[in-house]
């Protein structure tokens, strides 16, 4: 049956499809047409828009709190968000109190970097990441001339062969942004705004499965090193 030129029939079928009274073979046929017919899809969406507000005629009813908790648990929302937020708040306070010391340390390390590199990079940011005992473990420099982010392990604990170190920029709010995965004890990554944007609060390195975090939205493993950018 050709319904393309029969606008009355098209309206009727779309409406009854949405209402639910189009059944069986007629419904399946209609769904096949929907795939091939953008205008029919538009008509159907319009009918959804017309009839769906009937849902509100049912009146409101407050669902129990357990429903949200179950949704949160199933989607893993609470754990991820609050753990990062807690970690970030704690660390921001720590780094603010340590600002002076870090700047001194960064400046010292910078001398080492600059004198060793022949093609003198324009280092604009530097960060020394420390481990849980506040030992310097990693040096990160941002070279704006070469648009490069250089990472070097200083005195790191060995990484198991099935693991990788993953570097992140942690913004003041929102998910951490992946900067790169270290293949060896040093790495070079392209420098973009996601690494040195004004909203970046900290840099962090997590221990992840080989190749980096499997979750596109953030780390899955523990934080092994962390530190803040120092602008030079």
């Amino acid at each position: 049956m050709n319904i393309r030129n029969n606008i009355v029939l098209r309206q009727k079928l779309a409406a009854e499809y949405v209402l639910g009274t189009l059944r069986g073979g007629a419904r399946r046929r209609f769904e096949t047409w929907l795939h091939q017919d953008a205008d029919l899809r538009r008509l159907t969406a319009e009918w959804q828009q017309r009839l769906a507000p009937m849902a509100e005629f049912a009146g409101d009813a407050q669902p129990p709190k357990s429903v949200w908790r179950a949704i949160e648990r199933r989607l893993g929302l609470e754990r991820k968000a609050s753990a990062w937020q807690f970690w970030l708040n704690e660390n921001l306070a720590f780094w603010r109190s340590l600002g002076m010391v870090s700047t001194g340390l960064a400046a010292l390390l910078l001398v080492v970097v600059v004198t060793r590199v022949a093609d003198a990079p324009a280092i604009s940011y530097v960060a020394t990441l420390t481990d849980d005992k506040s030992q310097s473990a990693m040096l990160v420099t941002a070279d704006q001339r070469h648009k490069a982010l250089e990472v070097r392990l200083l005195s790191a604990a060995p990484v198991a062969p099935d693991k990788s170190l993953h570097l992140w920029a942690v913004p003041k709010s929102g998910n951490p942004r992946s900067l790169g995965v270290l293949a060896s004890n040093r790495g070079s990554f392209p420098l973009t705004d996601k690494a040195i944007g004004a909203d970046v609060a900290l840099l962090a390195v997590t221990l992840e499965p080989k190749g980096g975090s499997p979750d596109p939205n953030g780390p899955t493993g523990p934080i092994v090193y962390k530190g803040a950018w120092m602008r030079l």
Partner: protein, 219 residues
Amino acid sequence: MCVNLSRSVAPFRPVTLLHQGSAVSIAVHSLDPQQLKIWLMAAGKRDAAAFRALYDASSSKLFGFALRILHKRELAEEILQESYVAIWNNAANYQSHLAAPMTWMATIVRNKAFDHLRRTDAVVEIDAQQFDGDVMNALQDPQATPIEALQMSGDAKALAWCMSALEGAHRQVVALAYFHDLSHSEVAAQLKLPIGTVKTWIRRSLDKLRVCLARREQA
């Protein structure tokens, strides 16, 4: 960044009042589709706080809807949960030019509820005589009854207005089909009407609704 959207606006919170022994939720503001859209799109970008705000704003409406379809509280809770999981998982595919956020979410709830009933072969008791009498009565004379007080979105108010212009029996036929996933013949059996009559009433009612809603939109 999308993650900050949810913090820049005060979240909508339904207030629960005790009314004749049952919890009645009264929305403080009417549902603003623009706000819901912002939250839904942010949820599509994995913003958990925006998703929470979306849930707080819409869950009492969608739970009321699920309850009306399923009648059983526990089952309605389960379907509501399923629906919000699907909303989160599909939020990135939401196309705002095709459907208002409430339309999109209500369609998910309706499909989940009907899927469940079909899968379990469950029979929902339908009292056609008394069916939705409360709501339908409230809609019969929108001049006299405060549609505003029903706390419906603008879309729902427009539809209520246009449905109130239908004959009572015609309106009941449309609502039975919509809320209970009934075919022409099932509606006919419920209301003890000839199937041809049901088909005609539905076709005419849908035509009238389309014309009436278009007219309201132009006005």
